[in-house]
């Protein structure tokens, strides 16, 4: 049973915006008429909501999340980001480049059956099916800060298992120096992969990577859920990586492959703009993004625009004690 401890600043149930109102807000803005020209090209899926307003409403089916069994986390001193914001404000370009699009366009996403294939330089290659994702390792809740490279942040109660446990089970060979992760490639389900405009001009599938010692760090989490339930598609269902000391784009979603390799693997945002996004992408207030400062961040919790929420960004997103040793002696300005 999930026992939720409520901090004084936490969002109460009655304060949460009704989901229908929330899901509708962009349509309200669209009706007001001031949207970018990009919306002229919006796919039929994206504009279905407008048509619905005139032709009898058929609410889109909502992805069904299930409750999970897990060891609950200890109380976290910082205010959690409300679930409706964690699941409504996402960068998941496979489902569109705007923050609300993943929640709108991913609800029909199929996660069962699923195959997560662990391969490469390992003695025990294995494939986890959908049910295996929840039963192979004990699940625990971990409350982490999530710092996006765009200088906003959240606090999210994830559920998952240590990536280190998975690595140990695969028994990497001595040649395994890096892990190369890959997101599902399925343009039929992911509109951003079908259209370059919807997907922000990224070459899919999305790929990410970690050094093997980074992957073995106890903080690295393979997440299968949040807020007590399985992940919704917009947050990377059914399984995603969470590396809280790195910018959010490292925490790759909807993973189908983890390959142990000898050479540093390519990573999506680095391929797209290597001057702006490095392989390491450790949260670092001292190294600015070329186009904006990384010294501080806006924490997304509750409240409207008048909530004062700009806070200083901490080295390694505040996890320096746990991960600092991984980068001892490294020039973090060069290896950003």
């Amino acid at each position: 049973m999930l026992i939720k401890s409520v901090a004084p600043g936490d969002c109460k149930e009655f304060e949460i915006t009704d989901e229908r109102v929330y899901l509708n807000r962009r349509e309200i803005i669209k009706k007001m008429g001031f949207v970018g020209v990009g919306s002229l090209f919006a796919s039929s899926a994206a504009t279905a909501g407008i048509a619905d307003l005139f032709g009898g409403s058929t609410a889109p089916a909502v992805f069904q999340q299930r409750a999970l069994q897990f060891g609950a986390a200890e109380k976290f001193p910082e205010t959690l980001t409300p679930e409706v914001k964690v699941t409504g404000h996402n960068n998941f370009y496979e489902f569109g480049i705007e923050k609300q699009q993943p929640a709108e366009l991913s609800q029909g996403f199929k996660v069962d059956p699923w195959q997560l294939k662990i391969s490469g330089e390992v003695e025990n290659p294995l494939t986890l099916g959908y049910d295996d994702l929840y039963s192979s390792f004990p699940l625990e809740e971990r409350i982490y800060r999530l710092r996006c490279v765009e200088a906003w942040s959240m606090v999210v109660p994830w559920i998952g298992f240590s990536l280190a446990d998975l690595v140990k089970r695969a028994r990497p060979t001595s040649r395994a120096k890096y892990l190369a992760f890959e997101t599902l490639y399925d343009p039929a389900q992911m509109p951003g992969q079908k259209s370059r405009r919807m997907g922000g001009g990224i070459d899919y599938p999305y790929v990410e990577g970690l050094r093997i010692d980074e992957a073995m760090n106890p903080l690295a989490l393979m997440s299968v859920g949040l807020y007590g339930k399985t992940l919704p598609p917009q947050n990377g269902a059914p399984i995603r990586l969470v590396v809280p000391w790195k910018y959010g784009f490292k925490s790759i979603k909807s993973i189908v492959g983890i390959k142990f390799v000898e050479k540093k693997p390519a990573t999506t945002w680095n391929l797209l703009a290597s001057r702006e996004y490095g392989f390491y992408a450790n949260v670092n207030p001292a190294v600015d993004h070329p186009r904006w400062s990384q010294a501080s961040e806006r924490r997304i919790t509750t409240g409207g625009i008048f909530t004062q929420n700009r806070i200083p960004t901490l080295p390694f997103n505040g996890y320096g004690d746990q991960v600092g040793d991984l980068y001892a002696g490294m020039n973090l300005k060069k290896y950003y």
């Binding site: 807000r25 404000h89 600015d288």
Partner: protein, 206 residues
């Protein structure tokens, strides 16, 4: 064939334009204060007012060529109003950034304006817009005579800067900014002769 409207309609259309421009803005801030603008209301108000300002600039620059082509002289009377609303949206855009994004951290505000080329460009456009808005009264127009038009021709530079500002601000999704780049060139193509004349005049003074 000229398309005209009865004179008494003009004030009514003006009221309609006021409402069309103001209602989204009021609605936006109401929703933003109520936290009903999605996960990050700050990003939402910044983007909405930015795109709104650019759309109004484009509409403003469309009025003259459309009025010429279809002989709809009455449209000319809306240019100032649309231009001023573009300024209002741009002002909101800039204030959103100051109040809600950097949250009155003036040091950070100044650093961002000078260190980030896309913000420098945006701020330059905004300063020019202030000059245009401040000289938009009939009185000043008459007082400034020829210089008024020269000053207000800077609106083309403003739109160019705003389009660059938009293009540089996005992470990877360049289709929408590029659409505005195309729109800019179309708008300028309508004014080819004027731009050339203006250029000649400028160079002959140097």
């Amino acid at each position: 064939m000229a398309i005209n409207i009865p004179k008494q309609w003009l004030p009514r259309i003006k009221v309609l334009v006021h409402l069309t421009a103001l209602y989204p803005l009021i609605n936006l801030y109401y929703s933003a204060i109520q936290d009903q603008l999605g996960g990050d209301p700050v990003e939402a108000v910044i983007h909405f007012t930015g795109i709104g300002a650019l759309n109004l600039l484009v509409i403003g620059l469309l009025l003259t060529p459309v009025a010429r082509r279809f002989q709809m002289g009455f449209l000319i009377q809306f240019r100032r109003m649309i231009g001023l609303y573009a300024f209002v949206y741009a002002l909101c855009h800039m204030l959103n950034f100051l109040f809600f994004e950097v949250q009155l951290n003036l040091q950070l505000f100044v650093d961002e304006v000078f260190e980030r080329p896309y913000i420098t460009v945006g701020m330059t456009a905004f300063l020019l817009l202030i000059a245009l808005a401040a000289t938009s009264t009939k009185k000043l127009r008459q007082k400034m005579k020829g210089r008024w038009q020269t000053l207000h021709n800077f609106i083309y530079l403003v739109v160019l800067l705003v389009v660059i500002h938009f293009y540089w601000s996005v992470k990877s999704d360049i289709v929408e900014p590029l659409t505005y780049v195309t729109l800019f060139f179309i708008l300028m193509a309508f004014r080819y002769k004027k731009l050339r004349r203006w250029g000649d005049k400028l160079f002959s003074r140097l």
